[in-house]
């Protein structure tokens, strides 16, 4: 099954999740949250959310705990850089693929 009958001959995308493709595959480092350091997690109150505010791809949820949508997270690391309590660590993706193999 190919794209022969696709209705357009150009690159054309509409607003909606992932119409630019699954950009999560570009990621080489994954954000990992330590809930013991994350402000809304510790207080169990809607607060801080600086990671949500700064994420350029809008893949972090404004929830407790904040969740990362790894389908589209490119692994830029801005959330980890901006987190005032250093609750987010960027971890090499290779580590996860080894775990998935095991």
């Amino acid at each position: 099954m190919g794209t022969r009958n696709y209705r357009r001959k150009t690159s054309h995308s509409e607003h909606g999740p992932g119409d630019g493709g699954r950009t999560g595959s570009w990621r080489v480092e994954r954000p990992v949250l330590d809930q013991n350091l994350c402000t809304p997690c510790k207080r169990n109150k809607e607060s801080c959310f600086i990671c949500w505010l700064f994420c350029p791809e809008v893949v972090i949820s404004r929830t407790i705990p904040p969740a990362f949508n790894l389908e589209y997270c490119k692994g830029c690391g801005i959330c980890a850089e901006e987190c005032p309590t250093k609750a987010i660590t960027m971890v090499d993706e290779a580590k996860f693929s080894e775990e998935e193999k095991e």
């Binding site: 099954m1 190919g2 794209t3 696709y6 209705r7 357009r8 001959k9 150009t10 690159s11 054309h12 995308s13 509409e14 607003h15 909606g16 999740p17 992932g18 119409d19 630019g20 493709g21 699954r22």
Partner: protein
């Protein structure tokens, strides 16, 4: 109605008859009088279009790309270094499949600076995915502009209408000015498959990944490679669509011409000269002179350079003893690009048939060096005796 005008005005009148909606251009010799004339038509209200003056050729084509994406019929024109400055947007327009028509008034490229005619500018844009059509006189210029809009919109591929600077752009010649009603019958209003619309927002030509993807409607959408393949596929079928454009044009205007090539006294010829643009009409004078001397020679103009009408050219050359390719451009480091393409077509269609004509390549008129008909005839005659050189020979070189 027959009028006497110069080649640039012939092009401007063609654009006006086609009711282009948006014109954006930056002046460069020898194209300037063409866009000046269009700005006058817009200023006087004779033409209902937006004329957008820009600060560069790159911007001129960028404006056309945006306007065409919004569903407007667009026009621009340039020459030489202006075309080269546009190069990034040239690639963009074809990848985005926008039916922009652009006149390239052929001029030599710098360095060194030179404003005179050769065809290095458009030949250097050969691989950009545009259709390229070369004109040999004023009637062809105006007719080709009209046909180009129909064809570009039919196949969603932009077209360069190329004609020689000064030799055609600044000389006066009588030609038939088509009636507006007939042009309207030939060319319906532009109706794009998708036009930018705030009610249906879309991203056009954003980052397209190496692999295919599922779009938000759940359909499998092209990756970059599929989009590029379709451009190639559609350019190859443009050879057929061009024939359809010619037939449609002939039915309405009564002017019949071969869509891809323009042979003159080729049928019984042993040797055929091949070229593009006004040079091929000059070569007709040489052919007549050599025929009077008893040589069986002809000349064939190549009108479509991209897509390259390889089969039509090879069939026309079948059984010939030799082909002499005269070019006003060069693929530096090898030979004339037309000579290479022609040899490729001969190999593809005639290898193994026992008839593979020898090909001699001449380079002429670089940077506007005068091409004297007598020199051209003498060169042509000398090439009939035997193949002179494997390397392309430069006519009129004073080294």
């Amino acid at each position: 109605m027959h009028i006497i005008e110069n080649g640039n005005v012939a092009a401007a009148l063609g654009v006006k008859l086609c009711r282009a909606n948006v014109i954006a251009a930056y002046p460069i010799t020898p194209q300037t009088p063409l866009t000046e004339r269009l700005s006058e038509y817009v200023e006087s209200g004779e033409m209902k279009a937006e004329y957008i003056p820009v600060e560069s050729e790159h911007s001129a084509l960028a404006v056309c790309i945006a306007a065409s994406s919004a569903g407007a019929r667009t026009f621009t024109a340039t020459s030489a270094n202006g075309l080269l400055y546009m190069h990034e947007q040239v690639q963009w327009a074809s990848g985005a499949r926008l039916p922009i028509v652009m006149c390239v008034v052929n001029r030599a490229v710098g360095a060194p600076w030179n404003v005179w005619n050769d065809q290095q500018d458009s030949i250097s844009q050969r691989d950009t995915g545009w259709i390229q059509i070369y004109c040999s006189d004023h009637q062809q210029i105006i007719d080709t502009v009209i046909k180009a809009y129909w064809l570009a919109e039919k196949v969603s591929i932009p077209i360069m209408v190329c004609y020689d600077g000064y030799i055609l752009s600044h000389t006066y010649m009588p030609f038939d000015l088509p009636d507006q009603e007939k042009v309207d019958a030939f060319l319906p209003p532009f109706k794009p498959e998708y036009a930018l619309n705030p009610d249906q927002p879309a991203n056009l030509n954003t980052v397209t990944l190496p692999d295919v993807r599922t779009d938000i409607h759940g359909e499998l959408a092209h990756g970059y490679m599929e989009i590029r393949y379709l451009l190639q596929e559609d350019l190859r079928t443009t050879i057929t669509a061009a024939a359809e454009a010619e037939k449609r044009f002939a039915d309405i205007f009564g002017r019949v011409s071969d869509p891809h090539i323009e042979p003159y006294r080729c049928d019984d010829a042993d040797f055929v000269a091949v070229g593009m643009g006004s040079l091929t009409y000059q070569l007709r004078v040489c052919v007549d002179a050599l025929r009077n001397e008893g040589f069986r020679v002809g000349v064939m103009g190549v009108r479509y350079y991209r897509p390259f009408p390889d089969e039509a050219i090879a069939q026309a050359m079948k059984g010939k003893q030799g082909i002499i390719v005269f070019e006003k451009a060069l693929s530096y480091g090898y030979e004339g690009a037309l000579a290479s393409d022609l040899k490729s077509a001969l190999y593809e269609h005639l290898a193994g048939t026992g008839s593979l004509p020898a090909v001699q390549n001449f380079i002429a008129g670089i940077g506007g060096r005068e091409i004297r008909t007598e020199d051209l005839t003498n060169t042509f005659r000398a090439a009939l005796q035997s193949r002179i050189s494997k390397e392309p020979l430069w006519i009129g070189l004073k080294l």
